[in-house]
Every structure is written in structure tokens, then in C-alpha cells.
């Protein structure tokens, strides 16, 4: 089955708005050191953090080191560049590169010959070494800046599993990936995006597993992006998605390196961005959005049962308020007799119809939840008390809402928090509101119409050409064992076949060669 990529997005801007390289930037380096320094100073006017350190190699030849304070390792520059060169005796004979080989002990060195390259190196924290009477400079790898420690990701914590999360530095993130996947088949391609931010973006994949069409498509979509700046991987995500207008995300964003590595091992592609701890994974299906990494670290019975619970509550979080409204407004006969009379008693003092009551409560709950995200810790406790007491108790006693409604909202809230990925939870929460309105106007028929519309949308949705509901709607029984249940590890012996041109056949050998009869058989 050939796939067709429905790539219709890119923030394409007209060439007129792109910042062209100015004339100064295109110029090559001149022989005279003073000319080069003047030009650099002119480009970096009013940049008070640019440092130009002139010195003389061996006391005779003029040279200079240019770097930005705060981005480069100042003491390293002193120790490894300036001091050895100052002590050099045969300065006139060697050119810069030979000098560098002899004296400079920095391992990462790059030649620069135009102004644009110099600027690129300086902005990335690499100091430029220039020598008089030479039209070539040297960029040394001495970047050093303050960065966050590796911590557990706040939104994706697990009970069992590694507690490392990505940070904002790209090199740290790629090193985390390398520590897990040590094979040299893990390829990392760099792309620079963003006119003013010049952000480095890395495409990670395992050669031999990932489909070539997918790689081509990822590269093509990234290269189409023309934007002023990339501040977070979310910018990239919206711009390379198949259908950015859909409420469902078509790329997975995660802070955990183990999630990224398991996706790479399943022949997917990851995109890491400098300055963002969130990696993007493509392609995905709806069930990826409902999985938690802990599913694979716990034993299979626990995982299977919790998975079923999660699916049930995901559906609950979408449908429970609308079912409540529909049953109470249109289909009272479906509610069991005793329950009906107690509900009627509870709803008697409430002046609003069930639809309005439900909408009011749901909106209030969403507001509470969102407010709770941004409160400092000291105030957080007070808000939860306020929420529980005021909204729950007092509103019921005042007759503004009924007690069953509060229970429904509470269960729905808990159900939506059961979904491990925050974005999926939001998508489902958003869709809940139109369903409530449909339920209040058309009853169960309205809910069915809404469900049909949502399922139709999901059936048409594609993530990088792969249908969003692949394993279920295009039934592949061999892959269902990781969706309907979580099969034990000795049974998970196939890779998902995402595209037709995936190189390796979908067998991933899993062998349990020794083991007790109790473990191996069941």
C-alpha cells in the first residue's frame, strides 16, 4: 500500500522579507589584521559583550582572538590559545594552521575565510583566532555557557524507569541519545533554521531501519521552513505537521530520552531542537498518544490492565458529561429507577437545565486546572482548598449545581489526567465541549453525530503519510498485540511496519534462550 504524503504546510514567506546577507557579511577575510578587526567591530557595533583581545605571537606577529563574553570559555582561551602562541618562538615561518597544529591544544578547530563564517562561529561561542598577513582565521571549539542540570522531566514522571530528561543544550541531548543507542548506525543530521536565531535542529534516525521516503519527507519539510526564529520545537511541530488544524497532534513531543530511543528502534525519526528540551517524533498513531513509557517497564499483566483502564477512562473523559446531559434531558427512561428518583431530588433546586449546568461546571474546572499550573507552590494549596470547598460544597448547597454534576465533573477530570500525554488530554478535553452542546440539543443522536464526526476526522488524519488509526482501522493483527494488550516481551518480536519501503523486514529477534519453565510458558 503506497502512502501519499499530504504535506501542505510550511511557513513560506516571500523572499523579500528574508533578511539577505549584507555586503559586509559576504566579504572574505583580508590580509591585514586591522581591516578584519575594523569590519568585525562595525558589524558588532553596540554589542558590548564582544571582546577583541589583541596579542602578538612570539612577541612579534600581531594576532587577535575575538569572542563573545559569556558564550566562550575565557580561561580556556587564555590557557590554550593566547599563552602558547605568545610563547612561540618561530612565529614568522609557520602560517596560522601549522602554528595551530603545533601549539594550540584545542581539539575542535575549523577554518573560516569569510565574514559570514566568522559571525557564525562567534555566535555559537567559538572564538576566532586571526593572524596578520593571513586571509584565513581559525575557529576553536571553546564554547562554554551556563546550562541546566539533567533532571527528571516534570510532566512525564514514571514510577519505574530512567529519570533523565532532555535539557536545552543540543549537545547534551544528543549525548543522552548516544548513551542509550551506542551503534554508529544512529545518524544525527544537522539543519539550521530561523533567520535571526540560527537554531540548530538535529534529525535523528537509525540507518537501515527508518524508511528512506520518510527521511526524504522530513528533510524536505524542514527545509521549507522560513521563519524569523525558532524558540521551541513546538514552532517546528506546527509547521511540518500534515494537518495543523486538527486538534490531535501528529508528532509526539517528549522530554524523555528513553521514549525517543524506543521510537527510533521502531523505525521512527526524531527531531531535536537547540534550546528546547522537547524532542519530536514522527510518524505516530493515535495509540502512541495513549501510551506511557512505564507500560514497557512494568510486567505485562500490570501494563495490560492499566492500559484497558486508560482506554476506558479516555473514552469516559470524552463522553461522560455528554452522556449525563443526554440521559437527563432526553432519555430519562434509561436511568435505573432508584437512581432516577435520587437524581431528580438532587436536581430539583437547580434553576438551570442540565446542559447549562454541565457547561458551567466544565468551564470552571478547566479554569481551575489551568490556574493551578501557574501558581507558585505556596498559593497552590490554598487554591485546591478553594476549588474543593467553594466550587464543590458551597455551589451545591447554594443550589447552583447539583451534586451528581460535581461527581461527573470530578470523574471526568480524573479521567483526563489518566492520559499520559498532556497534549492528547487537551485534545480530548477540547472535543468534550461540542459534544456536550450536541447532547443537550439532540440527545443521544447528537452524541452519535459527534462521535461519527470525530472518528471520521481521525480516519482521515495522517501523520507523515501514515494513517493515524493504522493498526485498528486497517486491521493488522500482528501489531494489535501491543495495542489491545501489552504482550509480554518474549512475544513482542515484530517491529511495526510503518511504510512500505522500510528496509528491514519486520522481525526483531527476541529470544529467551534459558529460563525456568514457569517463566517461559503460560
Amino acid at each position: 500500500m503506497r502512502t501519499r504524503y499530504n504535506a501542505k504546510v510550511s511557513a513560506v514567506r516571500s523572499p523579500r522579507t528574508r533578511r539577505e546577507l549584507s555586503e559586509e557579511e559576504k566579504q572574505p577575510l583580508e590580509l591585514a589584521l586591522m581591516v578584519n578587526l575594523e569590519r568585525l567591530r562595525a558589524i558588532y557595533t553596540s554589542c558590548s559583550d564582544l571582546i577583541v583581545r589583541k596579542f602578538a605571537i612570539g612577541g612579534r606577529i600581531e594576532a587577535a582572538v575575538i569572542y563573545i563574553d559569556g558564550l566562550s570559555d575565557a580561561s580556556g582561551i587564555e590557557k590554550f590559545i593566547i599563552t602558547p602562541l605568545m610563547n612561540e618562538e618561530n612565529a614568522e615561518e609557520a602560517n596560522l594552521l601549522q602554528l595551530a597544529e603545533k601549539r594550540i591544544s584545542v581539539s575542535d578547530k575549523k577554518r573560516v575565510s569569510t565574514m559570514a563564517e566568522c559571525i557564525g562561529a562567534i555566535s555559537n561561542g567559538m572564538p576566532i583566532l586571526l593572524r596578520d598577513q593571513e586571509a584565513v582565521g581559525l575557529a576553536c571549539g571553546l564554547s562554554k555557557w551556563e546550562q541546566r542540570q539533567i533532571e527528571e522531566p516534570a510532566a512525564e514522571s514514571t514510577i519505574r524507569g530512567p529519570r533523565e530528561g532532555f535539557t536545552e543544550t543540543l549537545r547534551v541531548n544528543t549525548s543522552l541519545l548516544r548513551r542509550i543507542i551506542k551503534s554508529p548506525l544512529l545518524k544525527l543530521e544537522t539543519v539550521t533554521l530561523g533567520e535571526y536565531t540560527q537554531t540548530k535542529v538535529v534529525i535523528a534516525y537509525i540507518e537501515g531501519l527508518a524508511s528512506p521516503t520518510l527521511l526524504q519527507e522530513v528533510r524536505a519539510r524542514l527545509s521549507r521552513i522560513e521563519i524569523d526564529g525558532i524558540l521551541e520545537s513546538g514552532y517546528i511541530e506546527e509547521m511540518i505537521e500534515d494537518t495543523p488544524r486538527s486538534p490531535f497532534p501528529q508528532l509526539l513531543s517528549t522530554e524523555r530520552p528513553d521514549v525517543v530511543c524506543s521510537s527510533l528502534l521502531e523505525a521512527r525519526v526524531a527531531i531535536l531542537t537547540e534550546g528546547s528540551p522537547y524532542a519530536l517524533i514522527a510518524p505516530i498513531s493515535l495509540f502512541t498518544l495513549l501510551q506511557s513509557p512505564e507500560d514497557y517497564y512494568q510486567r505485562f499483566w500490570v501494563s495490560t490492565v492499566i492500559r484497558w483502564l486508560r482506554y476506558f477512562f479516555a473514552v469516559m473523559s470524552l463522553l461522560l458529561p455528554s452522556l449525563y446531559v443526554a440521559l437527563l434531558t432526553f432519555h430519562q427512561e434509561m436511568v435505573p429507577g432508584a437512581l432516577l428518583s435520587s437524581m431528580a431530588t438532587a436536581r430539583e433546586p437547580v434553576p438551570f437545565p442540565a446542559l447549562f449546568e454541565a457547561l458551567m461546571m466544565e468551564v470552571t474546572f478547566e479554569a481551575l486546572r489551568e490556574a493551578g499550573l501557574r501558581l507558585p507552590k505556596q498559593v497552590g494549596a490554598a487554591v485546591s482548598i478553594v476549588g474543593a470547598l467553594v466550587i464543590g460544597q458551597a455551589a451545591v448547597q447554594a443550589g447552583l449545581v447539583s451534586a451528581p454534576m460535581v461527581i461527573v465533573v470530578a470523574i471526568t477530570g480524573i479521567a483526563s489526567f489518566m492520559i499520559p500525554r498532556y497534549v492528547t488530554g487537551i485534545a480530548i478535553r477540547m472535543l468534550r465541549f461540542p459534544l456536550i452542546i450536541l447532547a443537550g440539543t439532540l440527545g443521544l443522536l447528537g452524541i452519535m453525530m459527534g462521535i461519527i464526526a470525530i472518528v471520521l476526522h481521525l480516519c482521515a488524519l495522517k501523520s507523515f503519510g501514515m494513517p493515524f488509526l493504522q493498526t485498528v482501522a486497517t486491521p493488522k493483527f500482528s501489531e494489535m498485540k501491543d495495542i489491545l494488550i501489552r504482550a509480554p516481551w518474549w512475544a513482542l518480536d515484530t517491529r511495526p511496519q510503518l511504510y512500505d519501503d522500510q528496509p528491514l523486514s519486520h522481525r526483531q529477534p527476541v529470544n529467551q534462550t534459558t529460563g525456568n519453565k514457569q517463566e517461559g510458558g503460560s
Binding site: 502512502t3 427512561e333 443521544l444 452519535m448 488509526l469 485498528v472
Partner: protein
């Protein structure tokens, strides 16, 4: 707009065909059968396997002779271009009419049993809108959604097991008290329904593995026969000879259900699953209508036709059917002959002509997307 060839799996085809027959079948067929054979109508639901097999054989043989072509395209090869286009036009108009009638049946059920004051047009148009969205998305979207919806459609039937304590097994007797002829009379309406399986001719061009498709098609026919027989028997055991007095016997069955004083009055669940089943049926019919039009008139992209043709079909849901009684007469007296004419008689004739003149589709027929 050039697009890659879409494909569907045989299993998706069977998931699409099951509600095509059974969505309205569950509701109206038992009463229609019970009118002629009050105790034996369940036998007619087993006999229905014969027209079912004929439909499957017709569709698959036509497709084997003219691979990649639906009946509209192959008729142009068999009896010449202009006569073939005439046949295509006939199919288009008939399918338009039939789509309208189906949506009318659906809307009648919803309005008369649940939403009493809602206008018929609103109910049928809302479903048409969703079906048109599905057709617009293409065959693969329709097929994928059919898999999900048919699964949900079948599930509430497990609730019928709750009726077991209330069933009276003695209602099956007397068997064949007036001979076999009433069974054949009772067969009239169900055979029209099952011959609708011929609509698979619009989907076979998208399937890669034809042998597997045949297996799945016979499986779905078997499933249809079994479910119809079970529902007929269930309704017979519950209501006895009173079945023909009810318009929708299965609605009565769902209303009757009560388990421990807790699960009661589950007819809203019947409504829910009926919406899903009818959505798939309407989507399949609408797709067949749109494809007939586009292949008859040579339109390259059928997707843009989905909404206009849906509007046309919605008019047919009201035209010439002033009330439920007329609709019933249409089904009982006219549909019995009309539907098999288009689903069995004309294809049989075309196949005979093709066989006699030895025409085959040598090159890929080119399904228009």
C-alpha cells in the same frame, strides 16, 4: 488532482458490507417476513443465502472479467459506449432514489420512536452531511470508519442475551403448517436486501488480493445469514405470532429487556447503534451513487461531487413518500422487484452478454480514483 491509488483491505470491505445489508435489515425485515409466514419467517432468513451467493458470484465474476472496473465501466465495454452510458445513468438515478429511501427509513425510525418533534429533513440531512464528508475523504476513509463503526454496531446485540429468561421456545411450532409457499413469500423482502451485496462491485477495484476478498465476502454473507436468523428467532420467541403487528419488532425487544431492575429501557442504545450502522450504509450508497455518476459522465475526481449529490439524494428522501405507510408499501411491494432488477437481473444479463461475446477487459480499466 492526481492521487496515488487508494486501496482497501478485504476485511474492510466485509465490515462495510455487513451494515449495508443489516443496518435497516434488523429493523424492518422480521415484521415483513412475519406478515406472510407467522411462525416460519426465520426459515426465509436462512434461504436468503441463495440470492446472497448469486450477488457475490455476479460481482466477482464481472470483476474477474474486467479487472479494475466497476459495473458502470464494464457495461460500457460489454454493450458499447452509448448503451453502457445509458445503463450507468439508470444506475445513477436508481441509486439516488434508493439512497433517499434509505435515509427516509432511518429518519422515520428516529423520529417516530425518539425525537418526535424534530423535522424529518433535519434528521436525514444531518446524516447525509456526515456521509458526504466520509465520501469526500475517499474510499479509504470510508473503509476505515466502517471498521470502527461496524464493531460498535454489533456490540449492543450482546444485550439481546438478557432476554433469554423471557423467551418462549414453543412459538417455533407449528412448523411449516401451511407448506413451504409462505416461506417463499416471506423470502421476498429479505432477498431484495441481501442482493444489495452487489454494491461490492464499486469497491472490488480497490482490493489487491481478490482471492482473500472472496473468502471474506462469503464469510460476511454467512454472518449476515446467521445474524438475521438469530434476530428472527429471537423476535419470534419473544413475540410469537404478534410479530407482524409491530412496525419495529426489535425495538420492542430492546424495550422489553430488563436485568435486575438496573438495565432497563435500552432502546436508546438501539438508537445509538442504529445511527452508526446507518451511517456506514448511507456512506456506502452515497459512494456508489457518486461513483456511478462520475464514471458514467467521465468526471475525473469524484470527491467534489459528494456534497451536491448528497443534496440531490436528500430530496429523494421526501419525494413521493408522504407518510410511513407509503414507505412500507414501497418496500414491500415495489422494492421486492426493483432492487433485484438492478442488483441481480441487469448484472446477470451483462455477464451473459459478456460471456457469449467473449469480451474481456484486457487493460487496466482505470478506476477514476
Amino acid at each position: 488532482m492526481v492521487q496515488d491509488k487508494e486501496t482497501i483491505l478485504p476485511i474492510q470491505l466485509s465490515f462495510m458490507l455487513y451494515p449495508t445489508v443489516m443496518a435497516t435489515g434488523f429493523l424492518v425485515l422480521p415484521a415483513m417476513g412475519a406478515l406472510y409466514a407467522p411462525y416460519d419467517f426465520w426459515m426465509s432468513s436462512i434461504l436468503v443465502i441463495i440470492p446472497g451467493v448469486i450477488s457475490i458470484v455476479l460481482a466477482t465474476s464481472l470483476h474477474k472479467r474486467f479487472p479494475g472496473m466497476t459495473i458502470i465501466e464494464s457495461s460500457q465495454r460489454i454493450i458499447g459506449k452509448w448503451l453502457g452510458k445509458l445503463v450507468g445513468l439508470l444506475y445513477f438515478i436508481y441509486l439516488l432514489h434508493l439512497t433517499g429511501v434509505i435515509s427516509r427509513e432511518y429518519a422515520e425510525f428516529v423520529k417516530s420512536s425518539f425525537l418526535f418533534d424534530t423535522p424529518l429533513m433535519f434528521i436525514s440531512c444531518s446524516l447525509f452531511f456526515l456521509a458526504a464528508c466520509a465520501v469526500r475523504g475517499g474510499v479509504s476513509v470510508l473503509a476505515r470508519s466502517a471498521v470502527i463503526f461496524t464493531t460498535l454496531f454489533i456490540m449492543p446485540f450482546l444485550f439481546l442475551l438478557l432476554l433469554i429468561p423471557d423467551l418462549n421456545w414453543m412459538y417455533i411450532f407449528p412448523m411449516l403448517s401451511q407448506g413451504f409457499v409462505p416461506v417463499l413469500k416471506a423470502e421476498a423482502v429479505p432477498q431484495a436486501w441481501v442482493s444489495e451485496l452487489f454494491l461490492m462491485t464499486y469497491f472490488l477495484p480497490f482490493i489487491n488480493d481478490q482471492n482473500k476478498a472472496k473468502r471474506w465476502l462469503y464469510m460476511v454473507l454467512g454472518l449476515i445469514v446467521i445474524s438475521m436468523a438469530l434476530v428472527d428467532l429471537g423476535v419470534l420467541f419473544l413475540l410469537g405470532p404478534d410479530t407482524s403487528n409491530k412496525l419495529y419488532p426489535i425495538l420492542v425487544a430492546f424495550r422489553y429487556m430488563s436485568a435486575g431492575g438496573f438495565f432497563e429501557n435500552l432502546e436508546a442504545m438501539l438508537l445509538a447503534m442504529w445511527v452508526l450502522g446507518n451511517f456506514v450504509k448511507l456512506g456506502v450508497y452515497l459512494y456508489a451513487t457518486v461513483t456511478s455518476f462520475s464514471q458514467c459522465f467521465g468526471v475525473s475526481d469524484y470527491r467534489s461531487l459528494a456534497f451536491p449529490i448528497a443534496i440531490l439524494a436528500s430530496i429523494f428522501s421526501l419525494w413521493d413518500l408522504p407518510n410511513t405507510a407509503t414507505l412500507n408499501i414501497l418496500i414491500k411491494k415495489v422494492g421486492v422487484f426493483e432492487i433485484p432488477l438492478f442488483m441481480i437481473a441487469i448484472p446477470l444479463l451483462l455477464l451473459l452478454i459478456a460471456w457469449l461475446t467473449g469480451r474481456k477487459g484486457t487493460n487496466q480499466g482505470g478506476v477514476n480514483g
